[in-house]
């Protein structure tokens, strides 16, 4: 069928041979940036990641860093900052600095697992219902999503926690996860609806792929930025919810978290007594952690919208 190029006469010509002309090459564009490179390229995200890394290190090495046991009430109550008690002590004679350092553990664990579970629920429900758009399955799952969207979340959490027998970390994680997935599931549902009619999905059907594989192996990798962004959002929400619950006195009193610190300080009338450090220290570290995760989210945004990358 093919006629090879005819050699051209004339001495000055290089006879073009087939191999010369077979210039079917791959462009040497390097592989595009991996997701971590993209996130790292944003200045804000870099700041966020560094701050978060410091928090993680503090949480892991809390026993090495903290000068005292956070529940040890043997110090002089209401002492000001000193070389033994860096940030002073509480009304019951506990070291505020040590509480702050140990408190990082709870907050980060709740953030990690609360965010993770909420994202998993949101992903499974959102993707399944979006892929099955228009069917009874979708109607059912959308109904469920809508119910969770309209329920006032905070009162529900408070009720759930108030009536439960145990008040451990995992209860908080579980409650936060099942109350906060709905919005993210909605977002994922609408995203998969735009993706599921792409040709590559039809192509996957033609190569014999099953439904689950299509959803989670073919489509999901194309929305990883959305999944990651919703994880960051859910983790931030979980940390805030834990602190809020603890501050209302619904936390686990055997553990020290920034929320329980706030609760204790409030209960003891710290502000009225002028114990600013007791209130501000946990509040501030919490605020910085939220800000850090929000900054990381700026980097995550670059993943989903490449146009932003030039301005980063």
């Amino acid at each position: 069928m093919t006629t090879t190029p005819v050699p051209t006469p004339g001495e000055d010509f290089m006879p073009p041979t087939e191999s010369d002309l077979a210039v079917e090459q791959v462009s040497d564009v390097e592989t595009p940036d991996q997701w971590w490179q993209v996130i790292w390229s944003s200045k804000k995200a870099r700041v966020g990641i560094i701050v978060l890394a410091i928090y993680v290190l503090v949480a892991i090495f809390a026993p090495l860093i903290a000068p005292h046991d956070p529940l040890d009430g043997s110090f002089e109550p209401l002492a000001g900052p000193s070389s033994t008690n860096w940030l002073g002590t509480t009304t019951s004679g506990q070291d505020i600095a040590s509480q702050l350092i140990y408190g990082a553990r709870i907050s980060l664990l709740v953030g990690l697992f609360g965010g993770l579970f909420a994202t998993v629920i949101a992903t499974v429900i959102g993707l399944t219902s979006g892929y099955a758009e228009g069917t009874l399955l979708d109607d059912g799952l959308s109904f469920l999503t809508n119910v969770f969207l309209v329920i006032p979340v905070f009162p529900l959490i408070i009720t759930l926690v108030a009536y439960s027998e145990v008040r451990g970390l995992w209860l908080i994680v579980g409650v936060v996860a099942i109350t906060s997935w709905a919005g993210a599931a909605r977002a994922k549902r609408s995203q998969i609806i735009t993706l599921r009619n792409r040709d590559f999905v039809t192509a996957a059907k033609f190569s014999g792929e099953g439904t689950w594989r299509i959803i989670f192996r073919e489509i999901m990798p194309n929305m990883s930025s959305l999944v990651l962004a919703s994880f960051v959002g859910a983790a931030t929400g979980a940390i805030a919810a834990e602190a809020g619950l603890a501050a209302l006195g619904l936390g686990d009193s055997r553990n020290v978290s920034w929320g329980t610190m706030l609760y204790q300080s409030n209960a003891q009338g710290a502000i009225a007594q002028g114990l600013w450090l007791w209130v501000f220290a946990p509040g501030l570290v919490l605020a910085i952690l939220m800000t850090a995760t929000t900054f990381i989210n700026f980097g995550v945004d670059l993943l989903s919208n490449p146009h932003l990358r030039e301005d980063a």
């Binding site: 190029p5 000055d12 077979a22 791959v26 192509a203 996957a204 990883s224």
Partner: protein
């Protein structure tokens, strides 16, 4: 006086993450008032960047890095935005490439006209409405659509509206950037005729950007050929057709042939354009050029005047010097690259093969319930044909003619309302109807599909090795080394060699033609009996279409599959198919051996499809 004068214009992209590249390099040309200039080149040649730069619409990371643009005596290269705003639309306007989406979806068409007209002129109220009516008449749309929302208009109508919008303020210059890409051939044809007529009547100047030399030749007075960011040839349309100077132009011209001939040859330009972010020595076209000489690899040819035009090619210049013909050979008109030839004899023998799929009196009716009324649309009515092993049947028709519905029924996704489709497979006959679940999966090991858009049919998040391995795992249960070997074989089968270099690539790293090869390899993986190819070349550059046609043709010959080739383009149908079925409004209006139908079309509709093929010869 010259209307648009571009001197030594360069555009540089400086992305943060990758190497900077010069998308437009030292381009110089001018356009006279009322002149119709075509700008052609394949994707990635920098033609759209050049167009955007002319309108000063470049966005970061792109910027004009050198040269000047003078419009109507004013230097607009560095004009502040506020002053540009006065010029845009009133003096220079445009119809964009993606103009299907360039109308605001929440504003009625009339409102969009009104905005533009009131911003730039003193017309108000009733006078504006009159002007809009006039514009609608100009582009032949019923003025009743003035109050419609953009989504209520068809693609062709939207494009006419865009054209009318561009003309709203009697501009002196219009940039048309592939204004008809993605539209039907017939619609495309009528819109372009419209443009040409209006241009002749109103005397505005046009720069018409396209990758399709056929349409450009039909319309333009003068043609600029762009390759790798430079103008490589500038000639009047007539001269370019008679005596193309640059080998690249010859390659582009070679992608058309006369479908009525007994034997049709079309050539293609192998390979792909160079990576502009690297420095090049010598002529940028040399690696793909069949006429290159030693000098081409050493020196970059300047754009020099020759034969009343301009060309950037050593060989063209040397051949035309005194005594040059003896030393460098006579100038050639054709592109001596690879070509794809189809003779009438091949088709005759194919039509005697064994039948693999028969479609018998098939109809498909869609019912839609709205309130109490039931609307019935007959998408396909009473269609019969047979598909043979080792043969290609072309299903030709414009959008809405029912070809996609027919394809869905043949691939087992939809059930025919009436009639039946029988697949004569290796395990006996099988009645094809809307299969579900396992049955559909099993049927797909016999019937595969090649998609229209190679850009969206490869999962962007997966490597090619994975994409190709999935059908093998699912249908043949291959594992480990055996699987890897088979994937490599497939890549080599579609001439993506060496396979090792492709196996770990992502789809978006390849050119359109290469991607389409991957899709074809994937369809071949399950060793199907039938391949349904749904306009597999319509989103590819005209210059590389022939290579995909050739690959499909080889498959038919060697693997003995039957191909159902769905298209709206009769030339490609002629190149590939043995039998053609012309579909209009769901009915078969013509059917027979391809050459016969093309030589003696009996139906008006077939004739209009034939007329729509650009024929520069």
């Amino acid at each position: 006086m010259t209307l648009l004068d571009v001197r030594d214009l360069s555009v540089r992209y400086e992305p943060k993450a990758s190497r900077p590249l010069d998308a437009v390099q030292g381009v110089t040309f001018s356009i006279e008032p009322g002149e119709f200039v075509g700008l052609i080149g394949e994707s990635g040649s920098g033609k759209t960047t050049l167009g955007t730069a002319l309108l000063r619409l470049l966005q970061r990371p792109g910027r004009i890095s050198g040269g000047s643009i003078e419009f109507n005596g004013t230097d607009i290269t560095n004009l502040p935005e506020d002053e540009l705003r006065q010029l845009r639309w009133r003096d220079l306007s445009t119809v964009f490439q993606s103009s299907m989406n360039s109308l605001n979806p929440v504003v009625r068409v009339e409102g969009q006209f009104r905005d533009a007209i009131e911003q730039h002129s003193s017309l108000r109220g009733e006078a504006v409405t009159r002007r809009i009516r006039e514009l609608f008449d100009m582009v032949i749309i019923d003025p009743k659509f003035m109050t419609a929302f953009p989504h209520e208009l068809s693609g062709g109508m939207r494009q006419r509206v865009n054209l009318a919008l561009a003309l709203a303020l009697d501009p002196k210059f219009i940039l048309l950037d592939e204004p008809t890409t993605g539209l039907d051939v017939v619609v495309q044809h009528s819109i372009l005729e419209n443009v040409r007529r209006l241009q002749a009547e109103q005397g505005f100047a046009v720069l018409f950007i396209s990758h399709d030399i056929g349409t450009v030749l039909d319309l333009s007075d003068r043609i600029l050929v762009m390759y790798a960011g430079r103008i490589v040839e500038d000639q009047s349309a007539g001269a370019l057709l008679r005596e193309p100077l640059h080998p690249y132009t010859k390659g582009l011209l070679g992608s058309y042939g006369d479908p009525r001939e007994e034997t049709v040859k079309i050539t293609y330009v192998p390979g792909r354009p160079p990576d502009l972010s690297r420095t090049m020595v010598g002529c940028s076209f040399a690696p793909r050029c069949p006429e290159r000489i030693q000098l081409c690899a050493e020196q970059d040819p300047p754009l020099v005047p020759l034969h009343g035009g301009r060309v950037a090619c050593h060989v063209a210049v040397l051949q035309r010097e005194d005594g040059g013909a003896e030393r460098f050979g006579e100038p050639k008109r054709g592109f001596e690259g690879p070509q794809f030839v189809k003779t009438a004899d091949e088709s005759r023998s194919a039509l005697a093969n064994e039948v693999v799929l028969s479609v018998e009196n098939v109809s498909k009716v869609f019912e839609r319930r709205r309130g109490f009324t039931l609307t019935r649309t007959e998408a396909v009515s009473d269609v019969s044909f047979e598909l043979r092993r080792g043969e290609v049947t072309a299903l030709v028709g414009q959008s809405g003619s029912g070809k996609s519905t027919l394809a869905k029924m043949i691939t087992g996704v939809e059930t025919p309302t009436q009639g039946r489709i029988v697949f004569h497979g290796p395990d006996g006959d099988k009645l094809v109807s809307g299969f579900k679940g396992r049955a559909l999966r099993a049927y797909r090991s016999d019937v595969q599909m090649v998609f229209q858009d190679p850009y969206s049919s490869i999962n962007p998040a997966k490597r090619l090795g994975y994409v190709l391995s999935r059908p093998l795992v699912n249908y043949q249960g291959l594992k480990g080394d055996e699987l890897r070997e088979r994937v490599k074989e497939l890549l080599e089968r579609v001439a993506l060699t060496p396979a090792d270099r492709f196996i770990n690539r992502y789809g978006y790293e390849l050119s359109g033609g290469q991607r389409q090869r991957v899709i074809i390899a994937k369809a071949l993986a399950v060793e199907p009996e039938i391949i349904v190819a749904d306009e597999p070349i319509s989103s590819l550059d005209v210059s590389i279409r022939a290579e995909i046609l050739e690959l499909l043709n080889d498959l038919v010959k060697e693997n003995d599959v039957g191909i159902l080739y769905i298209t709206h383009d009769l030339l490609s149908a002629r190149m590939l198919s043995d039998e053609v079925i012309v579909l209009n409004h769901g009915k078969v209006v013509e059917k027979g051996p391809t050459l016969g139908v093309i030589r003696e079309p009996k139906d008006d509709y077939t004739r209009s499809l034939l007329d729509a093929i650009p024929n520069p010869f």
